[in-house]
C-alpha cells in the first residue's frame, strides 16, 4: 500500500493505465510532514490519486464546515460588531444618546422596566398624536411592536394601555423639536405617604392618604414612577438618533409592506420580585459563579454642629436645635437624571443659614445655651431612608457616631435632647411668601412652642412673609414626619406652598433650574444670563435665610441687647446666587473648586449633579461630599497651622478639612469642624439576613446589570415567507451536497476507472 500524497505527485489522468493500484488514505496530514502514519478510524479506498484527492478535498471541506458551524453557533449573532457584515445588517445607537429605565425593588414590589435576556424586538411604530395612538391600540396586529412615543404622550394612562396591549415589546420616548415641558409629575399624587406620620393606625386618621384623596400634595402626579413594565423604556436624548428612528419608520413602515424597520432593545435586569427575595438570592452562594442580583440604595447624611462637641460633656435635655433639609431627588429614570431643582432650594437655603450663623465668633457660639445641628439627609426621596436611619441610630445611641468605647467621641444625641426641629423644603417658587407647616395634632405644649417659633420668624421676616399652613391639612410630607413618629417634638417645615406643591414637575426630569427660571428646558442660554435670572430667587432665599438664622439665634438663647450680633447676621445674596448656579447649573465653578479637598484629582464636571442617592457605597456621594465641605467651611474654625490638618482616627469629635481655598496659599485652607457623615441606609439591608417582617421600613434596592446590558439597534425585517425560503434553500444545498458525495463515492469505480478491473 502506498500513501496518497497530498501534493499531487501523480498527475490526474483519466486514461487507462497499466497498473491498477488501490490507495488507502491514512492520515494525510501527518504524512505530509513525513512523520509516518496513524490509522484513521475509517478507511477510504481510493482507486488512484485523483480519487484520493477528491476524498481529501471533501473531508477537509467537511472538517471546515464543521469548524465553521461550530464557531458560528458559538458566537451566534455576535459576529464581530466592527465587521462590515454587521454594519450592513444593524444600525447601533451609542449608549450615551439615550437614557434607560432600570428596575428598583422595595420591600414588596418591583418598579421600573425589564427586558428579556437577548433583548426585545419589534416592528417600529411612530405615535405622535392621540389619534394615531388610539388607531394603533385598536388595529395593531403584528406579532411584536416597538413604540416610538412622543414625550407629550408619555404618561401613566397611556403607558398602561400600551402595557395591556400584549404585543408591545418596548417603548422609546423622544422629544419633538418644539417640545415644551408640560405640567406633569411622574411621582405619586399623594407622595411619600407609605411610611408617613398618619399612615399607621388611628393617629391622624383624617389626614391619612392626603385627607383620603381630598388634598393631594402633588395633584399633577400620576404615579408612573411606581409602575412596573415588562418591556424596556428608553428616552432618546439625541435629536439625530430620534431623526434616524423617525426616518426609518417613514421610509419602510409607512407603506405597510416588507421589508419593515424593526428595533431591538435590551436592558436586562437581574433583580426580581422584591428586595427580600433578591437580597436573599444574592447572599446564597450556591456556586462559584453566583451573580449578585441587587444592591441596597443609600448614601450618607451630613451632620454639622455649630458648637464644637466635646467628649466630656453629655447632652442635656432640650439643648439642641436641629435644622435639616433633603439632599437627593429622583425621577422615572433616576439612574440617569434626577435634577430636583426645586427640592435643592431647601438645602441651599440651609447652607445660607449655616453661613450666617457660622460667622459668629467662637465665644458668641459658645454663649448660646442651645447647640444648633445642621443635618443634610440623603436617601429621602425613597421613603425617607436618611431620616429613618437617623431615628434608628438615635435610639441605639449611635448618633452622630457609632458607639466605640476606645475612641474619643461626641456625646450621643437623641430626641430627648432636641428642643426644636426646623426643616427647609421646596423654596424655589416664593411669590407671596413662605408657609410654615407643622403637625396640627401635636400636644398642646408642643404646639405652643411651634407657634412661638413661627411668631419669632414672622416678626423677623419682613420681606418674605411667613404664613401658617391652612387648617384642615396635616403635616406636609417631609423628614419631620419620620421624626415625629418617635417623639412629639416642636417642629416646623418651611415651604413655598400651602396645600399643594407649586412645583409643576415634581421629581421629573424637567425639574431643572431653567424650569424654576421659567425658561424652556431646551432653550439656549449663556452663563451670564443664568446668573442674572437667578438674582430674584437668590434674593428671596437670602432674605428668608437671614430671617431663619436670626430666629435660630434667638431661640438658641442669643442675646437681644443692642450690642448683640443679631442685626449683623445676614446671608450674602451673591453667595446664594453662586450656590444656586453651582448646584443646579454648572458645578465647575469657583465656589466648588475652592471647597474641593486640596489637590484632589477629581475634576468637577460641567453637567449639573444627578442627585440620585444610588447604590450604598459607605461613602458620601459627590453632591453630599461637596455639601459637607461647604457646610464645614461655613461653620467651622479656620486654622492657621497646617501641619496638623489631618483627622485623627481615635478622635471622632472633630474633623479636619484641608481644602483648596482661593489658591493664594499653596497649602490651601484648613478647617476644623464637628462634622459627621452618618449612614442613610435602611438598617434591615445592612445585615446579611433580611428579616421577613420588614414592612415597617422602606428597603430600596437597585437591580444589578452587566456592562453590556443596554443595547438599541435598528434593522430591516423580511417577511416570513422570504425567511423560510432562504432557510429552505440552505437545507436543499446541504442535502444535495450529501447526495452528490454519496453518489460519487458509490460510483467511484466507474468514474475514476483506470482500466479493466
Amino acid at each position: 500500500m502506498t500513501y496518497c500524497k497530498l501534493m499531487l505527485k501523480h498527475t490526474c489522468n483519466w486514461k487507462v493505465s497499466e497498473n491498477v493500484k488501490l490507495y488507502r488514505i491514512v492520515d494525510y496530514t501527518i504524512d505530509y510532514y513525513g512523520y509516518g502514519a496513524l490509522p484513521l478510524p475509517f478507511e477510504i479506498n481510493c482507486l488512484n490519486s485523483c480519487h484520493c484527492f477528491m476524498h481529501i478535498i471533501m473531508m477537509s471541506d467537511l472538517v471546515l464546515l464543521m469548524v465553521i458551524t461550530y464557531l458560528t453557533s458559538l458566537s451566534g449573532m455576535c459576529f464581530s460588531q466592527s465587521s462590515k457584515v454587521y454594519s450592513l445588517v444593524y444600525q447601533d445607537f451609542a449608549e450615551d444618546t439615550y437614557d434607560k429605565c432600570v428596575r428598583l425593588l422595595n420591600g414588596t414590589h418591583e418598579i421600573g422596566c425589564q427586558s428579556s435576556t437577548e433583548g426585545n424586538t419589534g416592528v417600529l411604530v411612530h405615535l405622535n398624536e392621540t389619534a394615531v395612538l388610539n388607531k394603533f391600540l385598536e388595529s395593531g396586529t403584528r406579532k411584536h411592536y416597538v413604540v416610538l412615543l412622543e414625550s407629550s404622550l408619555f404618561e401613566r394612562n397611556i403607558m398602561l394601555r400600551l402595557k395591556a396591549k400584549e404585543n408591545v415589546q418596548g417603548v422609546i420616548v423622544y422629544e419633538a423639536d418644539n417640545f415644551y415641558q408640560r405640567a406633569w409629575s411622574p411621582d405619586l399624587s399623594c407622595t411619600s405617604d407609605r411610611f408617613g406620620l398618619y399612615s399607621n393606625g388611628s393617629y391622624g386618621r383624617e389626614y391619612q392618604e392626603c385627607n383620603n384623596g381630598a388634598k393631594l400634595w402633588n395633584p399633577l402626579g400620576d404615579g408612573i414612577t411606581e409602575e412596573s413594565f415588562p418591556f424596556p423604556v428608553f428616552y432618546m436624548r439625541s435629536s439625530s438618533g430620534r431623526d434616524r428612528l423617525i426616518n426609518c419608520y417613514k421610509d419602510y413602515n409607512v407603506p405597510e409592506a416588507y421589508p419593515l424597520c424593526s428595533v431591538q432593545m435590551k436592558s436586562h435586569m437581574f433583580g426580581a420580585v422584591d428586595s427580600v427575595t433578591c437580597t436573599r438570592r444574592s447572599n446564597l452562594q450556591n456556586s462559584f459563579t453566583s451573580v449578585g442580583y441587587c444592591d441596597p440604595l443609600g448614601g450618607m447624611n451630613v451632620v454639622t454642629s455649630l458648637q464644637k462637641m466635646t467628649s466630656d460633656v453629655s447632652s442635656e435635655k432640650d439643648s439642641i436645635i436641629l435644622v435639616s433639609a433633603a439632599l437627593d431627588s429622583r425621577s422615572f429614570m433616576s439612574s440617569f437624571t434626577a435634577p430636583g431643582a426645586d427640592m435643592a432650594t431647601g438645602f441651599i437655603t440651609l447652607l445660607g443659614v449655616a453661613n450666617a450663623l457660622g460667622q459668629l465668633t467662637k465665644t458668641q457660639k459658645l454663649e448660646l445655651s442651645k447647640n444648633i445641628m445642621f443635618i443634610l439627609f440623603d436617601g429621602e426621596a425613597f421613603d425617607h431612608m436618611g431620616s429613618t436611619r437617623m431615628m434608628y441610630d438615635m435610639k441605639n445611641g449611635d448618633f452622630p457616631v457609632n458607639r466605640d468605647s476606645e475612641k474619643t467621641q461626641p456625646p450621643p444625641v437623641n430626641l430627648t435632647h432636641v428642643s426644636h426641629i426646623f426643616e427647609l423644603g421646596q423654596l424655589g417658587y416664593i411669590r407671596d411668601g413662605v408657609w410654615a407647616h407643622y403637625n396640627p395634632i401635636s400636644s398642646k405644649a408642643v404646639l405652643n412652642s411651634v407657634y412661638d417659633a413661627i411668631n419669632i420668624l414672622q416678626n423677623l421676616s419682613a420681606s418674605v412673609p411667613v404664613q401658617n399652613q391652612s387648617t384642615g391639612i396635616g403635616l406636609v410630607p417631609s423628614s419631620l414626619q419620620t421624626i415625629l413618629q418617635h417623639r412629639d417634638v416642636p417642629g416646623v417645615v418651611l415651604t413655598d406652598y400651602d396645600d399643594q406643591f407649586t412645583n409643576r414637575q415634581y421629581f421629573s426630569r424637567f425639574d431643572t433650574l431653567k424650569n424654576i427660571l421659567s425658561l424652556r428646558y431646551n432653550q439656549n442660554t449663556t452663563d451670564e444670563q443664568i446668573m442674572d435670572l437667578l438674582q430674584p430667587i437668590a434674593q428671596n432665599l437670602s432674605n428668608i435665610a437671614t430671617a431663619i438664622a436670626k430666629m435660630l439665634y434667638l431661640i438658641a438663647g442669643g442675646s437681644h441687647t443692642s450690642t448683640s450680633p443679631l442685626d449683623n447676621i445676614t446671608v450674602d445674596q451673591n453667595m446664594m446666587n453662586d450656590l444656586l448656579y453651582c448646584f443646579l447649573y454648572n458645578p465647575n465653578c469657583d465656589l466648588f473648586n475652592e471647597h474641593l479637598p486640596l489637590n484632589s484629582k477629581a475634576n468637577l464636571s460641567s453637567i449639573s449633579y444627578r442627585r440620585y442617592t444610588s447604590v450604598y457605597t459607605g461613602e458620601v456621594s459627590d453632591y453630599a461630599g461637596i455639601s459637607m465641605n461647604i457646610l464645614a467651611s461655613f461653620t467651622g474654625e479656620k486654622l492657621q497651622n497646617f501641619t496638623e490638618c489631618l483627622s485623627k482616627s481615635d478622635d471622632q469629635t472633630v474633623r479636619y478639612f484641608n481644602m483648596n481655598g482661593n489658591r493664594s496659599v499653596a497649602e490651601g485652607v484648613c478647617i476644623l469642624s464637628s462634622t459627621f457623615a452618618t449612614k442613610a441606609l435602611a438598617f434591615p439591608l445592612e445585615t446579611k439576613k433580611l428579616q421577613e417582617n420588614i414592612a415597617m421600613y422602606g428597603v430600596w434596592t437597585e437591580s444589578r446589570w452587566t456592562k453590556t446590558t443596554f443595547r438599541l439597534r435598528l434593522f430591516l425585517l423580511q417577511d416570513e415567507l422570504s425567511q423560510g425560503m432562504v432557510l429552505l434553500a440552505g437545507l436543499l444545498v446541504m442535502l444535495t451536497s450529501f447526495a452528490t458525495v454519496y453518489v460519487l463515492n458509490e460510483k467511484a469505480a466507474i468514474l475514476f476507472n483506470t482500466g479493466i478491473v
Binding site: T117, H268, F270, G271, R280, Y293, S703
Partner: protein, 101 residues
C-alpha cells in the same frame, strides 16, 4: 467488551454486577444493562444462564423506567413551582435565573 467472545457464565456475572450496581442510585447503569443484554437474554437460543439473565434484564428495565418517570415528574413540578416556593426553592437551586421571579 465484546460479548461475542465471553462465556455465558461471565456474561451472567456482568449482568448481575450491573443489576446490583444500579441500586446505588445509578439508573443509567440499569438502562445500559437492559439495552446491552436484551438481545442475549431474549433473542438468542436458550442457554443455561438465560433465565437468570432475563430476570435481571426485566428488573433493570423496570427500575430505569421508574427512575426516569420520577426524574421527569420532579423536573416538571420544580419548573412550575419554583417561583412560588420562595426561599425553599432558592436554597435547593444551583443556578437561580436572573430577572424573573
Amino acid at each position: 467488551m465484546n460479548l461475542e467472545k465471553m462465556q455465558n457464565a461471565e456474561k451472567l456475572k456482568l449482568c448481575r454486577r450491573y443489576y446490583f450496581g444500579g441500586f446505588l442510585a445509578l439508573p443509567f447503569l440499569w438502562a445500559v444493562n437492559a439495552v446491552w443484554f436484551v438481545r442475549e437474554a431474549f433473542f438468542k437460543p436458550h442457554f443455561e444462564e438465560q433465565a437468570e439473565m432475563r430476570k435481571y434484564v426485566i428488573r433493570s428495565t423496570i427500575g430505569a423506567v421508574v427512575w426516569v418517570a420520577g426524574i421527569i415528574a420532579w423536573n416538571v413540578i420544580f419548573q412550575l413551582n419554583r417561583a412560588s416556593w420562595g426561599e425553599v426553592a432558592d436554597r435547593i437551586s444551583y443556578v437561580i435565573p436572573t430577572g424573573i421571579p
